[in-house]
Every structure is written in C-alpha cells, then in structure tokens.
Symmetry: C3
Subunit: 138 residues, 3 copies
C-alpha cells in the first residue's frame, strides 16, 4: 500500500518548524500499520532534521552552530544573487537532510521518546515550503 500527501509550511525566517504531528496524521490516515515513511522537502535552501524535542534551546544552539560554521556573506562564496544568506542556505541544506526515512510501527512513525521531526528554514526572509510525505507498507 502506498499513500502520498503534501505538507505546506509558511516560514517567517531562519529557524525550525515542528512537523511531527502533521507527518503522524498522514501516517495515521494512510491505514498502514508497518512500513516506512519518507519525508522529502522540495527545496535546496530549507532542510529536514530529527532533533531533541524537549528543550527548544537545542534547536537555537543548532542555529547558532550553523551560523558560525557557514557565515553569511563569507567571501569564499561567489553565488550571492539572492543576498548574503543565499549560498549559506544551500550549504546548510547539503550538510543536513533533504530526505528523511522513518520506520512505521503500529500505524505511527516509530520515533524515539525525544525525537521530533523539524523543517529547518535557512533563508533569512522565509518562504513557502513544500514537503512530500510517502508512506509505504501494509
């Protein structure tokens, strides 16, 4: 059995959006009990991650780490047509994940207790982001 559905998120700027519940709802509606769930973001300047879900400071620390590792306006970068955050957004996406696979057990994504699914917006201005979810199983 295969079910495919779309999540759309309007981001306001850099930072993370919790998409755990939106993904779990698609899995629940699919009627699939055991299998896999693929989460895929159709962009190259936003990405996905599985991250600790209890303390929001963890995600702010991740943002601080990435801002230091891939500085905006770095003179290393030549592609800057959309501004100083343009190329860093692409680098941050490649260093994290465009696609995540999650197991499905008993009709739900089998996440660990402290795991949440997040969309990570890397453009300072934000954007509208499309996430395709494909559930396969029986």
């Amino acid at each position: 059995m295969i079910v495919q559905d779309l999540i759309e998120v309007r981001t306001a700027g850099r930072g993370t959006s919790d998409i755990t519940n939106a993904v779990q709802e698609i899995v629940a509606r699919s009627g699939i009990g055991t299998g896999t769930c693929q989460v895929f973001v159709q962009h190259t300047s936003a990405s996905l991650m599985l991250c600790e879900n209890a303390d929001p400071e963890v995600r702010r620390d991740l943002e601080r780490f990435m801002s230091r590792l891939v500085p905006d306006g770095d003179s290393l970068f030549r592609h800057d047509s959309e501004g100083p955050d343009d190329m860093p957004a692409h680098v941050r996406s490649v260093l994290t994940h465009t696609s995540l696979g999650v197991p499905v057990t008993n009709g739900r994504c089998a996440l660990g207790t402290w795991q949440g699914l997040y969309l990570w917006e890397h453009r300072s201005g934000g954007s509208r982001r499309r996430i395709l979810v494909t559930v396969q199983g029986e």
Copy 2:
C-alpha cells in the same frame, strides 16, 4: 513483503560499533531478495554512518575531526543540562545520519566492498541504543 526488527547496542562511550552483520542477518532472515533496507536509530545523541571498513583508523580520524568541529563545552552552546558533551552530541547527530537507506540485492544489503554500517555513539558516557531495521521488497 515487510519485515521489521530491532537491534540493541550497549555503547561504552564515544566511538563506533559495527552493525553490518546484525543488519545483514535481519535481511537474510526476512527472505526478501530485492528491495530496500531502512536502518533508523531512535535517539538524537547517537547516529549512523556508512564508512570505510578496512582500517579502524578511519573511524578514529572521523572522531578526531568531529571533536574539533564541535568542541565539548563550547561557549556557543546554552543547552548543557547533561554536561559539556550534551549539545555536541545533538550537533554531531544532525551532521551525520539518523536514518540510512540501503538497497537489497540477492537477499543481502548491496554494500560496496569497503562499506560498513556503523552506529556512532556521541555521548562520552555511552548508553543503550535502539536501532529499528525495516526491510521492504519481494
């Protein structure tokens, strides 16, 4: 056909554990000849990687690289409730992989000659780690 099974690993501290054989055994027992195998770690301070399997120095070099890139006790980090290795463990997990997909061919994970599957523990004290393996195919 879908088969799902669990691998539990007790880690003693930072470093890698070879889970290639444990995953290959699940694939062999599944009876699936062609398809995919999804390996998923249910934690946010341990991760997965496919890595060169001949010289263990490669994995020690990776550990040295990560220790330099994401230093323990870095003053950048505010989330440190579980110690100086707490936030670095989350960053290292996001920079590597919570989930890996591997093709299944002739009843085995179709790894390259030099590819091994490893669990990477990022907490200095170690922990008990759960890895869910889902094999799909025919």
Copy 3:
C-alpha cells in the same frame, strides 16, 4: 513493484556529475507511478546530494566550502595511505549523503523546480563509481 538498476559514472577528479536524467530514466522505465526512489552510491569516498541546478557556481562554492572545512593533508588525520585527499574524502562523504530517498509521483522523481541529483567525487584522481537505484511503488 520493485525495479533495481545500476548507473556507472567515470569521474575525472573532484567535482559533481549531474545524474538527474539517468535516475529519471530508470524511474520512467520502471512503470511505477507512485512510490519512492532510493539512490545509493557503493563507495565511501564519493557521495550524493540534492542541490540547486541552475547556477553551476553553487556547486563550485560547495566544493570550496568543503575544501576549507576538511583540508587535504590535515595533520589531524593519521589514515593517509592513499594520499592527502584520502581521509578528507571519507569525512566529506559522511558529512553529505551515501543514500538519498526521493518520492515518485506520476512516474517521475518529484523533485522541486531547482533540485538536481548529483554524484560528488571527493578523490582528486577520480574513479569509476557505481550507483544503485531502487524504485518501489505501484
């Protein structure tokens, strides 16, 4: 339904090869309309990425970023049996992707407008690279 096929790429040295069309052709030939496509590189010194496909300068900037982040001949590394680019190639592979999952919709990989699929060669001498593509769905 499951279809598995192989792409072989001869690389001339560090840099990226566009494999989008080769993957799309396998998906089209599979006859699968809805499902998932798994792209897997059977090596530990070359990797995969989904990247902006309009301006080739983006991929050259990514190469420059990686060359700075993981310098060839870094004295941190002890594994150097195949030269100064040996260990950096393994690190670059772990920081990017050995395996990518892409949704299949209407008989094609459902990539975003600006997303391309690339093989990233990390060895300065290049090599022959094997990429296994597995399409699952209905």
